[in-house]
Amino acid sequence: MEKFTTLQDTAVPLEVENIDTDQIIPARFLKATDKAGFGENLFKDWRFDKDGKPVEDFSLNQDQYSGQILIAGNNFGCGSSREHAAWALKAYGFKVVVSSYFADIFKGNALNNGLLPVQVSPEFLDELFLAIKKDNKESFKVDLENQKIQIISSGKSENFAIDAYKKTCLINGFDDIEFLVSKLDAIKKFEEKQTQMREAAIQE
């Protein structure tokens, strides 16, 4: 997995709440059997009209916005568990998604792909959108080590929470698979115990 430590960049705003993974990557693109090529279909039906022309007022199509940070409305990534959504965001070039709330499965998928979900307060999210409105070339610094996101021009910042284990994984580029495989002995022991545990529960 790609490592993540800090990132300072401009951002693309997407001020819509409850963005579901069907919007991030529509189901008709889920027929692929590898992980390549999802970036071009990211937000397909919001980015392009039915004739394939770019939708002008959609922020990803607007020249004034750029950068590897996506700032989105509350409850980002709800709905389907498709990890293709995280692959699409990553392949398009995003490294960080900021929102005031993330759906559980999307959050896990993002973390498993080196895409950092940064959850901020609703108030700070408003500040972020405002900062881009004022200056679309505003930069933001995302510091994973210190769990902090900062608006560069004003210096305003907020801390964000992340599971300590997941943080270590991201900083070092570790993923869960190797770790779990290293635990196979403990897992086999657990399997042997399972029946006894059920019997003990009945006795209680």
């Binding site: 409850n18 069907d22 039915k50 509350n74 709905g79 568990s81 499965i105 896990g108 698979i177």
Partner: protein, 460 residues
Amino acid sequence: MKKTLFDKIWDAHVVESIPDGPDILYIDQHLIHEVTSPQAFNELKEREIPVFRPNKIVATADHNTPTENQHLPVKDLLSRKQLKELSQNCEENNITLYGLGHPYNGIVHVMAPELGITQPGKTMVCGDSHTSTHGAFGAIAFGIGTSQVTQVFASQCLLVEKPKRLRVNVNGDLRKGVTPKDVILYVISKLGTNSGTGYFCEYAGDVFENMSMEGRMTVCNMSIEMGARGGLIAPDQTTYDYVEGREFAPKGEEFDKLKAYWETLKTDEGAEFDQEYSFDAEDIEPMITYGTNPGMGIKITGAIPVEGGKSDAKALSYMGFKPGESLIDKPINYIFIGSCTNSRIEDFRMAASYIKGKKKAENVNALIVPGSRQVAAQIQEEGLDKVFEEAGFRLRQPGCSACLAMNDDKIPEGEYCVSTSNRNFEGRQGQGSRTILASPLTAAATAVAGKITDFTKSLN
């Protein structure tokens, strides 16, 4: 210590807890399908890691399969390739596959319960968010991403943070025409689409106790639509009666032994929840949605709220509705009865009981898709197919179908579809389609009237 049902099952599956980190949770049953597994198999191959417990995995083909002419080669080449890879991957790794045409084939969340694979007290996962369905049996079941599918392949475990505990109580008597789908749509409309995020939800109260297993599955299925990772209902006699005798259910003495364990799976009196909500059954009426997330629901006779959330204007513009508007008499040209939410035998009995002796309206295109081959067979056995055919409904072969429109079953752009599925997201049933979520009964009544109607007046 007093424990909730959720705690009892979770704690019994923790292999190890990582300090300041997630638990290593043992998974009893892994279900897979063609769409979210190929990349996981590829990853294993690249790393040269074998599948650890192939006998704890069952595969089905459901998401992109056609619902007509399933005996012929699949027309869509990408779908065909994906299905072929599933077959190859299962064969190479000794995984049982109930592929297209197999008598056990069906939507993963319909076929596993009906085969007795789903059982109380189990931990179950699948690369599909509606895995929450299996919680109806008093199991911990939740959807996972493809990286996690890989983890379970490699270790039969997952690294997961333990969710918080939520309980939703509904007590009282349900009114005439109010179905389990209406109950869950009502709960989500009250709590919102992200109220459950970070939680596992137990449904309690006499409304759920009195529900059939099919109804409980409908409720638990939609837990994810309020953001909850999963939902569960304590197992009881209804559960045991449903499981007993099914193909892969434990038999004889083994069943009795397990049943004794299942009977311990109840939330202890006085156990604490992190969050709790209670509703009265009498307040619930048949529900429909008006927006582009499942939380945007109203009573069928109600009006679209005038003051909504931040992005409601975008949703209403997509749907072509106005704040304050009632949807009664809105012409509807498409209805879909199917999906992992409502494609079990009871759902079709419910629809058929309303349709019997009636005809669908001229303008309506009515699609009926059973959840599995076994449900399809039962529809025929009970003669429901005749009822649907005589009323002008099209009965198809099983699959996920128009719920997510990965196959040819799509709703055309701009058209409304009253659908028994679980998501009304933009374009979910086809580009530009507009979904109105409802129960099988409401969908049947809409098909007959050709418009949204307050059918409760006509119920005996």
